[in-house]
């Protein structure tokens, strides 16, 4: 009887912790849910020796009834300037993507099953660029710590299945979420062998007109190959007035 009561208490405590962790994570996602936006950003990709490859891109994103549509266009360097990528991000089906290559003056649809792979050759993955589906993860509050003077929760999110882990490109991650603001300042990603793989630092949060926060600088450090990538937002505008037909494959070369 005593054992049963202890077991129930442990189970309840575990369930409560999991619930809290999921809620904290949800609050973080809610605090940074900017919705429609337009921005210009610079991506610096560093190799282990410190060589850098730079890409400047403009991004426009709008949520429509059946999907969120995102249009990315390269502004620099010159050899890829004008290259554009259109993504339809569906809730319940695979993304649709089109690319426009100015050198060929052609729009091509591309199919990718590689969400966990690197985004534009950087240390960010395609999965990092989109908001995670909370249903795919188990959450656990594993502790508290102070990060640069901020008291943070450490929330561990673990992929529910091996397939999901492979798809996302990590087995679990630990987010450091500020207890005051619910903003996340650091995420540690663990590889399929549960070894630390990448560390993301998120800084320069700015409050937008809609009350949400947006990070103007993200750095991803790969501790296994010593490569680093940073994404710096040069210009940000909350909301977008671009009409829906701008986000169509036929218009991709005119954006």
């Amino acid at each position: 009887m005593k054992t049963t009561i202890i077991s129930i208490l442990i189970f309840c405590a575990f369930a409560l912790t999991a619930q809290n962790a999921r809620e904290i994570s949800h609050k973080y996602m809610n605090a940074t849910e900017v919705g429609d936006m337009e921005m210009i950003s610079t991506i610096n990709i560093y190799d282990a020796k410190g060589n850098v490859r730079t890409r400047q891109i403009s991004t426009a994103s709008r949520k429509f009834s059946e999907s969120t549509k995102m249009l990315i266009r390269f502004l620099a360097p010159a050899d890829v300037k004008g290259t554009a990528l259109l993504v339809y991000d569906y809730e319940d089906q695979d993304d649709s993507q089109w690319i426009y290559m100015p050198a060929l003056r052609k729009v091509r649809r591309i199919v990718s099953t590689e969400k966990g792979k690197n985004f534009m050759g950087s240390e960010f993955t395609n999965a990092d660029m989109s908001r995670p589906n909370q249903q795919d993860f188990d959450y656990q509050l594993i502790g508290e710590t102070t990060l640069e003077g901020r008291k943070c929760w450490k929330i561990k999110a673990t992929g529910k299945t091996d397939a999901l882990k492979l798809q996302n490109g990590f087995s679990s991650n630990i987010s450091y979420i500020d207890q005051q603001t619910f903003l996340c300042y650091k995420i540690e990603y663990f590889d399929m062998s549960d070894k630390l793989h990448r560390i993301q630092y998120i800084t320069d949060y700015k409050k937008q007109t809609n009350g949400k926060y947006f990070a103007y600088r993200m750095t991803m450090q790969n501790v296994q190959n010593n490569r680093k990538s940073e994404m710096i937002v040069d210009k940000f505008q909350s909301g977008s007035k671009l009409p829906e037909n701008t986000f169509s494959p036929a218009m991709i070369d005119k954006f």
Binding site: N51, A78, I99, I110, V111, K117, S193
Partner: protein, 749 residues
């Protein structure tokens, strides 16, 4: 006391001995292949490749595919492996209804025969997979793994075995790759030392007993062997070196060599004791030392000179072996002149029975016969040697140099089986990398690389080539319709190439390209996969590549794993010549100095020339390849074989002090010193015969050849040298009168 201190000092570092079976590390860092590979590694990493081959009647059977999927995905989950490439990771880039679709070759395992045949057809059309991760007859499937060399080999191999073991199946699994080779070689080096050393010591102990039938005559030379082995093996870690594959030979060499001087001492001691039963031990020991000191030191010096020939070898372990064995031989010589006589004096005298038994046996009759044959028919004997020399040494022109180090392991080892499968079904197990410097997105460069690929693929040895050009053309096929301009072509401007790369980065993993293009897009790599059965094959292909690239405007570097193999093989061949030349010259000079005659130098070198060339000729006739171990043969056999000649010269010279009759002097010399030489030679041969039990086939070959070589040195010393002396009657042997010490020693013997 001094012996004890030296041994103690040698035992302490022994515990820090490290085994190193990495053949690449055997080469100096100044070798071109290493420099080039380092340059390529700066931009494309120094990853090593492991190949796993699964064999089944049809690898597209669901169970086999499931196993490949489970195994390859487990490797992907393991961070020891940088890249994993199997049917489940290799991409299928295709155009589908106006879309560029990048998918794994096998997305779903086909359960129905029709689905299976559809998959087979799709694979046949995909040159990123067909013949690369699956054989053309679908009997073999390949899983390629790359590792960044961070994890120790043993741990890495454990992980591979664990993953394979976790997913059992009916398929046969073979693997090959440097980490596997090193692990297997390391295990075998340790096993060899554990097995060969005790057996070798036991064999030596038995041989000494059979030869001398006296406890102290057996145990004292034996203890010198043990002490010398401890010193030689202790010197390796003490000098900051590691025990190499070649290092297995060191203790066995010491077993064979270090007892020589003790054997001469004991043989002479028993001889004098037999003829002078009344003489006390101190007197006998004194007489033995007086008689043997000079020839023993000379034998020791000439052996050291021969073995030191290895110091000029191009392979680092060969040089290290030359140094440690030389020091240990010098130590054995010192012990034989101090420690053995001292203990003989302390232990006391034995009866003359031992020598009598031997004197009336096999050796006596054999040597009498040989001596008579050489002195009665010296010309016939010389002709016999000349004819034998011409017949045997003719095989020298048929000697092959091993093109790689694969034969370290037995032919039927899974490692070599996987190599054969890769050669026969996957375009080859060897690779050459060509790195081009300059803007890698330059269409002109990419078109030239494409042209090089076509030219190289005409070469029957080349299975396939892979390059950025191939990938760009593959993407172009997905972006254009067949017949449309641009289909299966390199684009005309570099902006388009850059955009192709961005496109691929967005639709798949840009890491797929990192094998071919550096981070800064300023270097591109072309890989040539090929097979080669001999060094000339490799050299021929490299010559073709060099010819092909002679007008290439961009700087380029040729490297790759097989370049290391090629340079090791060339080093084996050239190092062999250096060592041979050094040893011959050293022996020629030493003999000329010892006997104050150039004729002595030349005559003394003849048995060595005979033995070495006949042995190499035999290698050619029998088909034994010159490799990192067999290339050590000449220096070692010269170092050992010259002893016999010196002993014979010395004894003839001594005998000629008392008679002007050359026939009588030579005959007596052969019968007298012949026993010591023969026992010595057989003890060395028996010592080396232990190497037949080695786990390494080429060490077994070495055992065969060194025994043959020593036997040839022995018969040359006992038959050719006496015959030549009989014909030439050289002055250097007949220019002295006896000293009082030698006179009393030889007067009755």
């Amino acid at each position: 006391m001094l012996t004890g201190i030296i041994l103690l000092a040698a035992i302490i570092p022994l515990t820090n001995t490290k085994i190193n079976s990495n053949l690449e590390s055997y080469m100096p860092d100044t070798m071109l292949s290493k420099i080039n590979n380092k340059k390529i590694g700066e931009f494309f990493g120094n990853d090593e490749t492991m190949l796993l081959v699964l064999e089944n009647e049809d690898v597209l059977q669901p169970a086999t595919l499931k196993r490949i999927q489970n195994i390859s995905e487990s490797f992907m989950m393991n961070d020891a492996f940088e890249q994993v490439l199997s049917l489940f990771q290799t991409k299928n880039i295709q155009s589908d209804d106006g879309m560029m679709v990048v998918t794994p070759v096998v997305e779903n395992i086909p359960e129905q025969p029709a689905e299976r045949e559809a998959l087979r057809e799709s694979i046949r059309k995909n040159d990123l997979a067909y013949g690369l991760v699956v054989s053309e007859d679908f009997r073999y499937a390949m899983i390629m793994l790359t590792t960044d060399q961070q994890m120790p080999d043993v741990e890495l191999m454990e992980q591979i075995h664990q993953i394979i073991g976790k997913y059992p199946g009916n398929e046969k699994v073979y693997m090959t790759g440097q980490p596997y080779l090193r692990t297997e070689a390391n295990d075998k080096i340790a096993l060899d030392l554990m097995v060969l050393l005790p057996i070798g010591l036991c064999v030596m102990l038995i041989f000494l007993w059979i030869s001398f039938r006296e406890f102290k005559a057996m145990i004292l030379p034996f203890s010198v062997v043990v002490f010398s082995i401890i010193l030689a093996m202790g010197l390796i870690p003490a000098l900051g070196w590691e025990l190499s594959l070649i290092g297995v030979l060191i203790p066995i060499m010491m077993i064979a060599i270090a007892n020589n001087y003790g054997v001469y001492f004991v043989a002479r001691y028993q001889e004098i004791n037999y003829y002078h039963p009344g003489r006390n031990i101190a007197k006998i020991v004194q007489e033995v030392i007086a008689y043997l000191k000079k020839p023993m030191i000379l034998c020791g010096l000439t052996t050291i000179a021969g073995v030191l020939g290895l110091v000029v070898h191009l392979l680092i372990p060969a040089r290290q072996m030359g140094v440690v064995t030389s020091i240990a031989i010098a130590f054995a010589l010192l012990l034989s002149l101090t420690y053995i006589p001292a203990l003989f004096s302390i232990i006391g005298k034995s009866t003359k029975k031992q020598y009598k038994q031997v004197n009336e046996g096999f050796f006596h009759h054999l040597l009498s016969h040989v001596g008579k044959l050489a002195t009665n028919s010296p010309k016939r004997m010389s002709i016999f040697f000349i004819v034998s020399f011409l017949l045997l040494s003719g095989g020298v022109f048929k000697i092959h140099v091993a093109p790689d180090s694969n034969k370290i392991l037995p032919e039927d080892h899974g490692f070599n089986r996987a190599i054969r499968i890769a050669d026969e079904h996957f375009g080859g197990s060897k690779t050459i990398d060509i790195m081009f410097e300059g803007d890698a997105t330059d269409p002109a460069l990419l078109k030239r690389i494409d042209e090089y690929s076509h030219r190289l693929e005409q070469n029957p040895l080349v299975g396939r080539t892979a390059s950025l050009s191939m990938m760009i053309k593959k993407i172009s096929m997905a972006l254009h319709e067949p017949g449309e301009p641009g289909y299966n072509e390199i684009p005309e401007d570099n902006f388009a190439v850059s955009q192709y790369l961005e496109l691929y980065g967005m639709s798949a993993d840009i890491a797929d390209f990192e094998r071919f293009i550096s981070f800064d897009y300023m270097h591109t790599l072309m890989t040539v996969q090929y097979q080669a059965a001999s060094l000339p094959d490799v050299e021929g292909l490299l010559q073709d590549i060099s010819e092909m690239l002679k007008d290439e405007p961009q700087p380029y570097v040729v490297g790759g794993a097989s370049l290391i193999d090629k340079e090791i093989s060339q080093s084996v061949e050239i190092g062999q010549y250096y060592s041979l030349l050094f040893a011959f010259l050293a022996i020629l000079i030493l003999l000329s100095i010892i006997f104050k005659s150039v004729t002595a130098g030349v005559m003394g070198s003849l048995p060595l020339v005979f033995a070495v060339f006949c042995t190499f000729g035999l290698m050619g006739w029998v088909g034994i390849e010159l490799n990192i171990v067999t290339a050590l043969l000449s220096s070692i056999s010269i170092g050992l074989g010259v002893d016999f000649t010196i002993q014979v010269f010395w004894r003839i010279k001594t005998e000629l002090m008392y008679t002007d009759n050359w026939q009588k002097a030579i005959d007596k010399a052969v019968r007298g010193i012949g026993r010591g030489i023969t026992i010595n030679a057989f003890s060395v041969m028996i010592g080396f015969s232990v190497l037949f039990l080695s786990a390494f086939p080429f060490i077994q070959s070495f055992a065969f050849l060194i025994i043959i070589s020593l036997f040839l040195c022995l018969i040359s010393a006992l038959a050719l040298i006496p015959a030549l002396c009989m014909i030439l009657k050289p002055k250097f042997l007949n220019d002295q009168r006896p000293t009082s010490k030698v006179k009393c020693l030889t007067s009755k013997v």
